[in-house]
Amino acid sequence: MKRFAIGLYVTVTAVLLAWGYYQAIYVAPNDAMQGEIFRIIYYHVPSFATAFTFYSISFLGSIAFLSYRRSRPAWAQIADGWAVAGAEVGVVFCTVGLTTGPLWARRAWGIWWTWDARLTTTLVLWLIYVSYLLLRRFSAGPQMQTLAAVLGIFGALDVPIVYMANRWWRTQHPAPVFGGDSNSGMDPSMVGALMWNMLAWFAWGFLILGIRFYVERHHQKIAAAEAKAALEA
């Protein structure tokens, strides 16, 4: 039953991704001002939406780890599994956003990068979570998870700053498409393509998040079994 559910989820995700691609390329019209380059938005925006969601999962996992690490160690390990999975998959999606953005900017602005508030805060967010992953990779000992959880919490505090950056400061990055001022919004003929891609990338994201969590739990259990065997020897 479990295998069937996973197979079904993978199939639905693959169909959604194919449908999202079809919508982005063949259904949505070219932007009147930007032409075809505008279609990058259908991968760029969902990537950041997914990244921010997974950083939030990492944030909650980190808080739960710190809360339960003494009272309920087993729960704390599960929370830590979600924290590392959220951070790592978040970095993957954030990397996609930070790569597709400059490709769009080169054509739209004539430059690859500028130190605008939205771009800079996003780069800082990416660097914080890369340092979180490096901390987990290269440090050992009982304090590693605690230090990583604290860093994960501080990193997540940058997420609302990134989200609000182009509302608080008007710089180079385009104004918000949704939830901005009265002039914000998208042509109805384009909204469908964006929403389908949003759904597809979230489905894909949660699939790899689940796999990453499973791998981390497996790693934790091997480490625990190894420690137990060493004690018994």
Binding site: Y21, Q34, R39, Y43, V92, T95, V96, R107, I222, E226
Partner: protein, 57 residues
């Protein structure tokens, strides 16, 4: 940076394709890396003689 309209459209197309290809390269690359990590973990568990059932629990 003047470009003839057809040249601009070709460049737009190439940049759009590059963005989509990069997206998929990063995502598939990550999944492959995860699969390699998973295989290495399984081998490590076997090398240590850790019972698979214990790990699964």
């Amino acid at each position: 940076m003047f470009q003839a309209p057809d040249q601009a459209a070709v460049l737009d197309h190439q940049f759009r394709v590059a963005a989509y290809v990069v997206t998929w390269a990063i995502q598939i690359g990550y999944v492959l890396w995860l699969a390699m990590k998973w295989r290495a973990q399984k081998r490590e568990a076997e090398r240590l003689g850790i019972d698979r059932a214990k790990v699964q629990r």
